[in-house]
């Protein structure tokens, strides 16, 4: 019933790899990008305090607060409130996802090798 030796080895290696991946220190983020339904709608720099309301899919909205170099969801009108309880994000690559509203908040880093983006 207990894991066999090869199973334990596989699990150990995978857990270790996942731990390293999860705990790897991210680069400090520069901005938080807001995407609704797969489209990036706004990008807010992390060094500027902002409070903004975001309209999501299905009439849900959430309030994004940027302060002290991190972003978090202050209020969400969706039923599960998972995004509202998510800890603030500040490192490049970190995300807060609100599935009912189809909103993804992603912290972006300083773009490697790119000086500016035209859009």
């Amino acid at each position: 019933m207990r894991p066999r030796r090869w199973e334990a080895v596989i699990l150990g290696v995978v857990i270790l790899a996942l731990l390293i991946w999860a705990l790897w220190p991210g680069d400090p983020g520069a901005a938080v990008s807001v995407s609704v339904n797969g489209q990036v709608t706004e990008v807010y720099p992390l060094d500027q305090p902002t409070i903004v309301s975001i309209d999501g899919y299905g009439g849900f909205l959430l309030t994004l607060v940027v302060s002290d170099g991190s972003a978090h969801v202050e209020y969400a009108s969706c039923p599960d409130l998972i995004c509202q309880h998510h800890r603030p994000i500040s490192s490049a690559g970190e995300q807060i996802v609100c599935l009912p509203a189809r909103i993804v908040l992603t912290v972006t880093g300083k773009e490697a090798g790119v000086d500016a983006v035209t859009r």
Binding site: M1, R2, L18, A22, S35, D80, H85, P100
Partner: protein, 169 residues
């Protein structure tokens, strides 16, 4: 198979279904914050696991279907349906295919991993975002952890139940 055994097997299935009900409820009381909706500890998977080992693929699948319905409509919300569905089916298939070759704990851990994998895939499709990578390692670790815990309990229960339920092969 004598019809008495059939009745006993059916009764066992019913008991596991009742257990799935209670376990889903307990599951819903334990918040797993910071993860995607529908990502639960997966205690109800204990019923599915035991059903799969003791009663076979079809009763196991029935318990899995029940678990998905319970997670969605009784103790979750409708948004979680597709995530639970994808996670539940994927995880059950993987457990079905590996159950004869691996230990119960390992099978259960695989089930946990693929349950979460299915959810991330559905979320990526619905959100039209390939980049849910930030959630990936955390979800995989949760899946392994919960899977191992369920597998440990499941392994013990399966061997005890086998010795006290003589009609089960």
């Amino acid at each position: 198979m004598p019809s008495r055994d059939k009745a006993k097997r059916l009764t066992t299935l019913a008991l596991l279904a009742a257990a799935a009900f209670v376990l889903s409820w307990v599951d819903s009381l334990i918040p797993v914050s910071g993860t995607l909706p529908g990502a639960k500890l997966g205690l109800a998977n204990l019923s599915v696991l035991i059903g799969l080992y003791l009663l076979g693929p079809l009763p196991g699948a029935a318990l899995c279907g029940l678990k998905i319905l319970l997670q969605t409509f009784l103790f979750g919300n409708a948004y979680a349906f597709f995530y639970s569905l994808a996670g539940g089916i994927l995880s059950y298939l993987v457990m079905l295919l590996t159950r004869k070759r691996c230990s119960v704990m390992f099978v259960s851990a695989l089930g946990g991993v693929f349950h979460n994998l299915g959810q991330v895939l559905v979320a990526a499709v619905i959100l039209q975002t390939a980049g849910l990578m930030a959630y990936f390692p955390v979800l995989m670790l949760c899946g392994i952890g919960a899977g191992l815990a369920v597998g440990l309990a499941g392994g013990i229960l399966i061997s005890r139940l086998r010795s006290i339920l003589p009609f089960i092969s």
